[in-house]
């Protein structure tokens, strides 16, 4: 299906994806390094290895498009436009955080960039994403919505109920399944007796991408998003990817069922190899980019550190 035209990527988009993925990666690595010092008192679900999915998808979204996230928020939220400073400050529990220190790592909010919130109870936010699409339809707006979830969220009844609702009412929503093959430590074969895309195909057109390959995601997400915009009806996109870290926390994953090859499984290395080969970037420029992003992360951390903690104000019981 890959025609020459679709394989050709606009250089600006390639660079944008590389930057987005590097921001998420370098930020996550910094979090992992700082995490044992307890400066961030909140559970973190890092996205290392999975960056291509949201980076490829968000190339095709505008700020007006809404995206509803689950617990694994960092990379998709940054890709959608959440400023680094606001995310870092939230992790640091400061008032300048995106949820004013009330949310923590799993609850990000940035309406300016189409992030109306995220939920840590697996599954429920899929329906909320369908609601955003309903809003677009009822208000005669152009924006589309993305329900963004993991493979195991498809275990929940609300996944099936939401697909049925969206299909019956013909709502402009993209169901984006970031399938890392794991539900905490449980492999997908143990939590799902069905093929996820197969179930989804009962309700809507399905696209699939290699979620460790930014170009594959870019291409398939491009088609999927275009179809949602054109048909104003639900579309499903499954991106298979790999989780490099433990489900939660700063440590590398060590599950036998989840072997990681840091070269072939790395979406950043893969895109960089492609870009260098296509003369879209040089190794020296990549180094400069990495340095630039490190400086942005330093800035975000300094911002978080000098931001105030909230003052407790509760009603006495």
């Amino acid at each position: 299906m890959s025609t020459a035209e679709l394989d050709t990527i606009n250089p600006a988009d390639a660079l944008r994806m590389l930057r987005t993925m590097r921001v998420a990666r370098q930020m996550s690595q910094r979090i992992a390094k700082l995490y044992p010092t307890d400066v961030m008192e909140t559970p973190v679900h890092l996205c290392i290895g999975q960056e291509a999915v949201s980076a490829g998808l968000c190339c095709h979204l505008t700020d007006a498009d809404q995206m509803l996230l689950g617990h694994r928020t960092h990379a998709p939220a940054l890709a959608k436009g959440l400023p680094l400073r606001k995310l870092m400050a939230e992790l640091y529990g400061r008032t300048t955080g995106c949820s004013h220190a009330r949310g923590g790592s799993m609850h990000v909010f940035d309406p300016e960039h189409g992030l109306p919130g995220s939920s840590a109870i697996v599954g429920g936010s899929i329906a909320v994403g369908v609601g955003a699409a309903l809003s677009s339809k009822l208000s005669g707006s152009d924006f589309i919505s993305v329900s963004y979830f993991g493979d195991a969220a498809t275990n929940a009844g609300v996944f099936h109920e939401s697909m049925n609702f969206a299909a019956l009412k013909q709502l402009p929503v993209l169901f984006l399944c970031e399938n890392n093959g794991l539900s905490n430590v449980m492999p997908v074969a143990e939590h799902a007796a069905y093929e996820i895309a197969g179930v989804a195909s009962q309700f809507m057109p399905v696209f699939r991408a290699d979620g460790t390959d930014a170009l594959s995601v870019y291409r398939e997400a491009g088609k999927a998003v275009r179809q949602v915009r054109e048909t104003r009806a639900p579309v499903f996109l499954e991106c298979t990817t790999k989780r490099w870290m433990k489900h939660q926390g700063h440590e590398r994953d060590d599950l036998e069922i989840n072997p990681i090859d840091p070269v072939t499984d790395c979406p950043i290395a893969r895109l960089e190899r492609f870009m260098i080969g296509a003369s879209l970037i040089t190794p020296r420029e990549i180094l400069a980019l990495a340095k630039e992003i490190e400086a942005e992360i330093d800035d975000a951390i300094e911002f978080a550190e000098r931001s105030p903690y909230p003052q407790p104000e509760f009603v006495e019981a």
Partner: protein
């Protein structure tokens, strides 16, 4: 019926073997599964290597421990179906917040099944779930919802505070022919205390006195009972501390007996205050022993607000042995000097 071998009034003699709270739960579950082949456990991550905070590790019958998908509503219906047809399931949820996904099954099915058919069937279903804050987990992962479930007719609610009670109450729950919800505070798991090796039960609806005093009755549940006990011991408070152990049925006799003696009531329950366990106990004491109260009752619980994530907010949100102790000193300390 193998359960008749239980001595339901067994009390631990002092100085017996010490066990951690979580190991007491493990032992009760293992012994129940060994005793009765109808007993099995299920739930998300019930069978993983971490074994539900360690409470399900190294079990004698791993073949009767079912890991499940993230399908809490269906899981609950499935457990009910198994309970109706001859099994005795223990359904485990790693956080009580996930019970909310199964509210329909719990409230409309499990709680009502026996009474809808005039008690003609048994529903020997235990629902274990974990309560309490982790670490910046925020509003959806830090709740303690015992009050919500205690409101529903048809559900028994137990909240052990000590390892001894954890084992005895869990065995009572498994032995019971009606649905029982057990709320386990995660901060209690590592606490140790004397636990007999043999099986024993604690009657559901029987509280206990954890500290003897005459100026103030404090009724406190789960971790709040341990926190209050700590405050009493550290500050030498003249407090009669009652741990009801079972929220439903509630040991009102013990509470009223204590209030008759002290004339004052404080309820400490780590849950939202509006219409919760503390509100219920307070209102029952007012209804049944108004004339014995010398002063208006008081409550300590969460503020009327959802859980925040940020460290300083979290630390301000939750009561501690110190905040409880200070509140008690402010109250009866003055009284004693007067």
């Amino acid at each position: 019926m193998p359960w008749s071998r239980f001595d339901s009034n067994y009390r631990a003699p002092a100085g017996e073997r010490d066990l951690a709270f979580v190991d007491a739960i493990r032992e009760a579950t293992d012994q129940a599964m060994c005793l009765d082949p109808r007993v099995f456990a299920m739930g998300l991550d019930a069978d993983d290597k971490f074994g539900v905070f360690g409470s399900m590790r190294d079990m004698t019958h791993p073949e009767r421990i079912l890991g499940t998908p993230i399908s809490e509503n269906a899981n609950t219906g499935v457990a009910l179906g198994a309970a109706l047809t001859g099994m005795r399931p223990i359904l485990i949820n790693l956080r009580n917040d996930f019970l909310l996904v199964a509210m329909d099954q719990i409230v409309n099915y499990v709680a009502k099944w026996q009474s809808m058919f005039d008690g003609q069937c048994a529903v020997p279903l235990v629902m274990r779930s974990v309560i309490g804050r982790g670490w910046g987990c925020g509003a959806q992962h830090s709740q303690s919802l015992q009050g919500l479930f205690a409101q529903i007719p048809g559900l028994k609610v137990v909240m052990p505070a000590t390892p001894y009670d954890a084992k005895g109450l869990l065995l009572s729950a498994i032995k019971d022919d009606s649905p029982v919800m057990m709320f386990e505070h995660r901060w209690l798991y590592k606490n140790t205390g004397p636990v007999p090796e043999e099986m024993y039960t604690i009657p559901l609806g029987q509280g206990q006195r954890l500290h003897e005093g005459s100026s103030l009755t404090v009724v406190a549940t789960s971790l709040a009972a341990i926190h209050t006990l700590t405050a009493c011991e550290q500050r030498g408070l003249d407090v009669d501390l009652i741990d009801p152990r079972t929220i439903k049925p509630l040991d009102m006799d013990l509470i009223l007996d204590s209030v008759s003696k002290t004339g004052r009531l404080l309820v400490v329950d780590y849950d939202f205050p509006f219409g919760g366990v503390a509100a219920e106990i307070t209102s029952r004491v007012c209804e049944q022993a108004f004339d014995r109260l010398r002063e208006p009752p008081q409550r300590i619980g969460f503020p009327e607000a959802n859980m925040p994530a940020s460290g300083p907010l979290e630390r301000a949100y939750y009561p501690t042995p110190d905040t409880i102790g200070e509140r008690i000193e402010r109250w009866i300390g003055v009284e004693v000097c007067a």
